[in-house]
Subunit: 132 residues, 2 copies
DNA sequence: CATTGACCTTCCAGCCGGTGGAACCCCTAT
DNA sequence: ATAGGGGTTCCACCGGCTGGAAGGTCAATG
């Protein structure tokens, strides 16, 4: 299977697949003409990676997850540990964004949005002492 | 004022301040010895930038906000527009993360996290057809 | 058999918003 | 004179790709 077919089947762009090979996440064979020659297992791995990435796992986590996936001696505790750490990072990010959102929404709400120059948003940015 | 003092007063690392000069957000004078020589207005601008960045505005937005801030002929509508766009992007990001979080939390919950290899997390990544 | 066009290859550059480090200059205190 | 704590420039790197140039390969045409 050539990279185009694999891209279609895995849902990942060809560029990304080449990149994943470059950083050692997959290692497809090569045909005599130099083209990458993908096996079903590669497609499977790539789909796995696509789903892990879609859940927000970083490349390093993906590497670990893939390794655990292929390791019969793994424990589910190892996998869970990675996922829990990631969950914490997501929660932290959500909390951060939620705080931003609250401040921003308050400012947007306070701003008339008309032709006049007076603007609570700029006022807040220019001098944020007193409130968060 | 030298960059170190400005860093302390604005809360931004000296590296970042140099970077902001490089990309044209600020333009401090230079002393005879080549050192950057910051005025109060520069410190003010940097603090403004720091707060805008803390609200998640991108550098381009910061540039626009700074420009509007210094423009007496601005309208609050222009400022509000930038903020509303940004608010939408934040909401989209929160929604994305919240969805990730939901899936991930479900998987983590379903995983025993013990010494055995069976793991719903890996199972889901390996074959995610049927559920989101 | 030559050409077209879709595919594949490699390599280099860029995105965002900095951050780290090397190599060097400047200023003050001892 | 020297030590140290500033400052300066420049270049490389982070994540995770993405775009594009330059060129090789292949199947189907005229």
């Amino acid at each position: 299977m050539n990279i185009g077919d694999v891209a279609e089947r895995s849902g990942l762009p060809a560029k990304t697949i080449r990149y994943y090979e470059e950083i050692g996440l997959i290692a497809p064979r090569r045909a005599a003409n130099g083209y990458r020659s993908f096996a079903e297992a590669d497609v499977h791995k790539l789909a796995f990676l696509g789903r892990a990435r879609a859940l927000g796992f970083g490349i390093d986590d993906c590497r670990s997850l893939l390794q655990l996936y292929g390791d019969d001696g793994r424990t589910s505790a190892e996998v869970k540990h990675i996922a829990e750490d990631h969950l914490e990072r997501i929660d932290a990010k959500i909390a951060e964004l939620t705080e931003m959102r609250a401040t921003l929404a308050r400012l947007v709400h306070a701003c008339a949005g008309d032709h006049r120059p007076d603007c609570p948003i700029l006022a807040d940015l220019a001098r944020a002492e007193g409130r968060g």
